[in-house]
């Protein structure tokens, strides 16, 4: 594993607010990392800082060992596709052409296939595209650039479920053939959970989870059954959440659950179930009520 992006104690303050507080993380070369968190948590700020589009207030960022700020050699190794990407007033094919000049590894064949996949009209001005098609242009450019470091920030506003699945499938297929470092920020956690090798969760400017996806799967389980039995099972465990109806209780507890614990659950007639990544992220992202009242 080689670190390709290193974020070291980065803080970013705007007037009156702190978008990132002392954030440190590393992206390993050739992995797909999910950047998850609520709106306003700091995901886009972090991505803009990595791509040299924003200054840090303190701390350092290194991409391939160099500072990305106004560094053409580094910027050509990266592509950043944003939710609200703004293009000049040109036709779709001109936008692709411009991208092909900038990105040294541009794959014209893939771009053509993706245009077909998303049924994008090459001769239509980008201005006249629907919201979903507009997003598709970003996805085509983001994938066809074959940039060493590819960042997608909520790239699929307006794309329906079928088009999103095309995006995931093409991303996986192309990544398999041309391994590269991908950072994908999204709210659709369950949709991407199996694509991710690594997961970073940001909450209110701080990184609260930074772990491999495999590791996270074992971190929490749900236990459900008779309340008294659940109580007995969770006695020495950290309970993240608890819900009951009548004498029935479901609790989310931190793992790991070993064979002994499994046997114990069986004796107590309890059901053990997986906790989805989405559920886990929600529970890691602090209390919603607290946030609304704050």
């Amino acid at each position: 594993m080689t670190p390709i992006v290193v974020v070291d104690h980065v803080t970013r303050r705007y007037r009156g607010t702190t978008a990132l507080r002392d954030v440190s993380t590393v992206l390993q070369e050739g992995t797909i990392t999910g950047l998850l968190g609520r709106n306003g948590a700091g995901k886009s700020t972090l991505m803009r800082i990595i791509t040299g589009q924003e200054f840090v207030s303190s701390g350092t960022v290194r991409v391939g060992g160099q500072n990305p700020l106004e560094n053409d050699a580094v910027l050509r190794r990266m592509i950043f596709v944003k939710e609200s990407q703004i293009y000049p007033d040109i036709k779709v094919k001109r936008a692709l052409e411009a991208a092909s000049w900038f990105y040294p590894n541009w794959d014209a064949e893939l771009a053509g296939q993706l245009m077909d996949d998303f049924a994008l009209p090459a001769n239509r001005p980008i201005k006249k595209l629907s919201r979903g098609m507009h997003s598709a242009v970003g996805i085509v450019i983001g994938l066809a650039a074959h940039a060493e470091i590819t960042l997608f920030d909520e790239p699929y506003l307006g794309l329906d479920a079928v088009a999103r699945q095309i995006f995931y499938d093409r991303l996986l297929a192309d990544y398999a053939e041309h391994p590269r470092t991908v950072l994908l920020s999204t709210h659709l956690i369950d949709e991407v959970a199996n694509l991710l090798e690594h997961v970073i969760v940001i909450d209110r400017g701080r990184i609260v989870v930074d772990a491999t996806a495999d590791d996270l799967r074992g971190r929490a389980v749900t236990v459900s059954g008779r309340s008294s039995a659940v109580d007995e099972f969770v006695a020495h465990r950290e309970v993240l959440k608890r819900q009951g109806v009548g004498s029935f209780t479901t609790a989310t507890v931190t793992g790991p659950i070993d064979d002994l614990a499994r046997a114990r659950a069986r004796d107590l007639n309890l059901d053990l179930g997986p906790v989805s990544l989405q559920e886990f992220v929600i529970q890691s992202s602090g209390d919603m009520r607290e946030r609304i009242s704050a």
């Binding site: 992995t31 297929a173 398999a176 391994p179 199996n194 694509l195 996806a213 064979d259 069986r266 179930g273």
Partner: protein
């Protein structure tokens, strides 16, 4: 298809070993590539690779340089041995636990395994009718088995 709470790579390894035990993947057969697995299950290729490597470490699969991954000869019988060991824990223990909870004693449980309740019912009918019933059931079971095998053949 993939979600029982176990790590994804483990589920891939389990799925592959099941295919070998069932015979869907014969000994000596070539195993789909990491990327094919990743695309099929829509998972990260690194995860698929990790799952395959579990079976390489266990000596179930072997890598032939430049050609691909293959099922080792003798892998099926070794997997069956392993699964028999796990059988008690995974199936018999829960069965006995639930039987105890319902007040079914060991003798009654053994009797139920020998003569499943639905067969006991058909035994009470006139002999020839029961025989026809059982023959039909057997034919159906064979037919189902064949369809499953065909489907698996198409899927792989």
């Amino acid at each position: 298809m993939l979600d029982d709470g176990a790590p994804l790579f483990q589920q891939i390894a389990d799925q592959l070993s099941s295919d070998i035990v069932d015979g869907a993947l014969a000994e000596g057969a070539k195993v789909p590539s990491t990327n094919e697995f990743a695309a099929f299950y829509r998972i990260n290729p690194a995860t698929a690779a990790k799952g395959i490597n579990v079976l390489v470490d266990d000596g179930i699969l072997e890598k032939r340089r430049g050609i691909g991954m293959f099922v080792v000869m003798g892998a099926r019988s070794r997997l069956i041995q392993l699964r028999r060991k796990e059988f008690a824990e995974q199936y018999v223990d829960p069965l006995v636990t639930e039987a105890k909870r319902l007040g079914i004693d060991t003798e009654a449980l053994i009797e139920m395994i020998r003569r499943p309740p639905d067969r006991q019912r058909s035994d009470q009918r006139p002999t020839d009718a029961a025989q026809i019933d059982q023959a039909t059931a057997r034919n159906q079971a064979t037919a189902i088995h064949q369809t499953t095998a065909e489907e698996e053949g198409e899927a792989s």
